[in-house]
């Protein structure tokens, strides 16, 4: 299976509030709340680290989860957010990946 690279879209607004990450599409106003694992993946979506690397090096390091379960959940999360244009997905690293757009509150 080929590698996937993920990057945050620039057409979104995101904010950490009350310990939860909220992301809204600036294009269609779709609103998401991310759980802890999804938030970690979101922060790690730098366009250069492959998704498999994010799962093994970040998710499995921070959470008590089986690698296969983490991989499956991460794939689903990426598919959901990419469908709304919130995450961008490519089979090669992004040349100009977005900086983290999160505003802390």
């Amino acid at each position: 299976m080929s590698e996937k690279y993920i990057a945050r879209s620039t057409a979104i607004a995101a904010r950490m509030l009350g310990g939860e990450m909220m992301v809204m599409s600036a294009v269609d106003s779709t609103f998401f709340t991310l759980n802890e694992v999804a938030t970690v993946i979101w922060h790690a979506a730098d366009g250069r680290t492959p998704l498999s690397g994010i799962v093994t090096q970040v998710v499995c390091e921070e959470f008590d989860v089986e690698p296969e379960v983490a991989r499956r959940d991460a794939e689903q999360f990426v598919e959901d957010l990419s469908r709304h244009g919130i995450l961008l997905v490519s089979d090669r690293p992004f040349e100009n990946s977005a900086s983290d757009p999160v505003e802390a509150a």
Partner: protein
């Protein structure tokens, strides 16, 4: 064309000058916006209003569209067409001589102004008690008109339908609006610092519950009036909603539709 009849409508402290060739339309506006008429010496923006005879073009069922084209906002709905150049401070409205069309244009213009100032228009009743403003948000049928109608005499009603929320340093102010709902009563033209935002629900008992910040942002976004198809402004609205929730207590108010609920609003 000579737009000799002028009137300035000031909502939320923002005077907007309207010019028309028709003296009776000016009088209609003076009646409609009584209590919100300002001096027109220094308006923030000016609009020329072209009145047209209702026709297929201007009275269709078309939904509202708001978009920026070449530096000008284009506002369009079945019953009006408007252009507004925010940098020049000028615009033009084309509509028939009914007050509902210009009311909608003013609402849209204020949402665009407020979006850049960290404020918003909200589907909410609002009222002032003891110098503090309370907002009661909810969709149609949630109880905005009901709670407004039951307000005791010491409460000043700002609106029963559309609340005007402005950023005021680190806090927020709610301002009265002439945008009335089913109560058909124009709000008082005054303002006060926002104390609490309640999301309304009618139920079998009076109850106030806390709302998580995420839920508060979600509900707030659902009730903010916003029409523009503009990604930058959508991001600004999102940021404004988050900032508001971070600074103002947000609670869910379930209430029985009688006046006892006001004993909890203090």
């Amino acid at each position: 064309m000579s737009y000799m009849h002028e009137i300035a409508v000031e909502i939320g402290g923002m005077p907007i000058l309207l010019r028309t060739q028709d003296s009776s339309f000016r009088e209609l506006l003076a009646t409609r916006y009584a209590g919100f008429i300002a001096s027109f010496q220094q308006p923030l923006f000016e609009f020329d209003v072209d009145l047209v005879t209702p026709s297929g073009e201007i009275e269709s069922e078309e939904d509202v569209h708001v978009e920026m084209q070449d530096g000008q906002w284009q506002l369009r709905r079945g019953d009006f067409r408007a252009q507004w150049d925010p940098r020049a401070g000028r615009g033009r409205i084309r509509q028939s001589a009914n007050p509902y069309s210009i009311d909608s244009v003013l609402r849209i213009v204020h949402t665009l102004i407020l979006a850049r100032e960290h404020g918003f228009l909200l589907h909410a009743a609002s009222a002032v008690r003891d110098g503090r403003a309370f907002l009661f948000a909810g969709v149609s049928g949630a109880g905005k008109t009901t709670i407004s109608r039951m307000a005791p005499p010491d409460v000043t009603l700002l609106t029963d339908e559309i609340s005007y929320v402005r950023r005021d340093a680190d806090r927020y102010r709610a301002c009265g609006t002439p945008f009335a709902g089913d109560l058909a009563r124009v709000g008082e033209n005054c303002s006060a610092q926002v104390n609490t935002l309640f999301f309304l629900e009618q139920g079998p008992e009076n109850r106030i519950e806390s709302v998580s910040k995420v839920e508060a942002v979600r509900c707030l976004l659902r009730n903010i009036l916003f029409f523009a198809e503009d990604a930058e402004l959508v991001s600004l609205i999102f940021r404004s909603a988050c900032e508001f929730v971070d600074r103002v207590p947000v609670q869910r108010l379930t209430f029985v539709p009688d006046e006892r609920v006001w004993s909890m609003i203090r």
